[in-house]
Symmetry: C2
Subunit: 250 residues, 2 copies
């Protein structure tokens, strides 16, 4: 066991779904980077992201995605749609999903007051203090308006800087599984050349997940082979086998 395992529950895997909310993602105007950031963060913390959904600012679609994933996984993380404008409907949609009321939350108002002089607390900014009943707040160190947690769902901002701060704050609250370790080897070969020995290796070591990722580096096709397991020794064994297979191919 490594240091990472001190808070782990090795016998139980911890899973997550991610919901990215916003018309601008579906139109392609904004290229989402939050899902990949969250996925990587979760992997580093021993939590397995199992599914990502990206939906527009439409209540029924937010509710469907959140309800499906919160029933399926340990945690759900959402980004987007909690700002002050008319198209920010995530908090209301989450309240609908949980069947609870929503109103201005005095703890959230206090956070906003701390951030903005009183004269600036417009009704629009107060809209950002509308929090579903029973939710815990998630601190926003960048711009004041909090996210929130209700049940196993964490509702975060869409602006990457703010989202990243919120996620960093949430981290310690999360139960973490035994960390999945990985290592990789890059072959200067197209995938088609390495596929057969790789398939044999995968059959021989069914407890290690072996992924094969081709890319084109401008000169030729390369293949990165990634070994993933919770056991470092097993990864090392498979890595040796993969390196030998690559050598055999010249």
């Amino acid at each position: 066991m490594t240091d990472d395992d001190l808070t782990a529950s090795p016998s139980q895997s911890v899973t997550a779904g991610i919901v990215v909310i916003g018309d601008e993602i579906l139109s392609g105007r904004t290229k989402d980077t939050n899902a990949g950031y969250i996925a990587e963060y979760l992997t580093e913390h021993g939590i397995e992201a199992c599914e990502i959904r990206m939906v527009p600012d439409v209540t029924s679609m937010i509710v469907e995605a959140v309800d499906t994933l919160r029933a399926r996984y340990t945690y759900v993380f959402t980004t987007g749609g909690i700002g002050p404008t008319h198209d920010d409907i995530t908090a209301d949609a989450i309240a609908t999903a949980f069947g609870v009321g929503i109103e201005i939350d005095q703890r959230a108002v206090a956070m906003l007051r701390q951030r903005y002089p009183e004269m600036d607390l417009t009704p629009a900014r107060l809209r950002m203090a509308r929090i579903p009943h029973g939710a815990e707040l998630i601190e926003n160190t960048v711009s004041g308006a909090p996210g929130f947690q209700i049940g196993n769902v964490f509702v975060m901002a869409g602006v990457p800087k703010i989202m990243q701060g919120m996620l960093g704050g949430i981290g310690p609250r999360l139960r973490s599984g035994r960390k999945i370790l990985s290592d990789s080897v890059t072959a200067l070969l197209p995938e088609g050349k390495i596929a057969e020995p790789l398939s044999e290796i995968a059959k021989t070591f069914p407890d290690v997940s072996i992924g094969s990722y081709p890319h084109f580096d401008g000169e030729g096709f390369r293949t990165q082979i990634v070994m993933r397991s919770r056991d470092a020794d097993r990864i090392a064994t498979v890595k040796t086998a993969v390196e030998a297979a690559i050598r055999d191919l010249g």
Copy 2:
């Protein structure tokens, strides 16, 4: 009507779902760029992307995502999992979703033979010629191995360069809706300041979709306001109203 509308069916909207397939996306190791690229391409072609799902290399999850979205939208586009290795299971999963058989397709073999000298047509490469019954092939100008279309589902490679070539080839086959036009204004203001006049404008012009996107540019919070509609005149009217509202705020 603009030139873009010549091939359009203005009365009917054309919709799409996108499914990104691959363990490496969920682990965060690979940051997906395909979904955003496809979404932008579709918007430019008058097709509305309504939902994006990202799932691991797990048959049941691929089937669920594809089956749900193909029933819901005009088109579905998938990326990833059609290479030669043991973890490439997309073609089989699609065959399962459609309830059809899958075997080596001689048209696909011909495409591969054209690309590779005969001695290089390994069983692994032949695996890339396994195509569900009834599918049409999608040409791969980069590395030979084709994608395919079955029903309203287009199955493409995960390597961005290859996927982009395939999408460009598919384009002419797609029915296109009347193009959604957009324009934008950037306010040197945080979202909270502009939210109320913006909400009024949104109520006054319910036929124009108005999105508000805050970002932090290092010096302060800015808000980009995006107007979207199929009618250029309506966009211009709303833009004038938004610019006036920003001026009024100083």
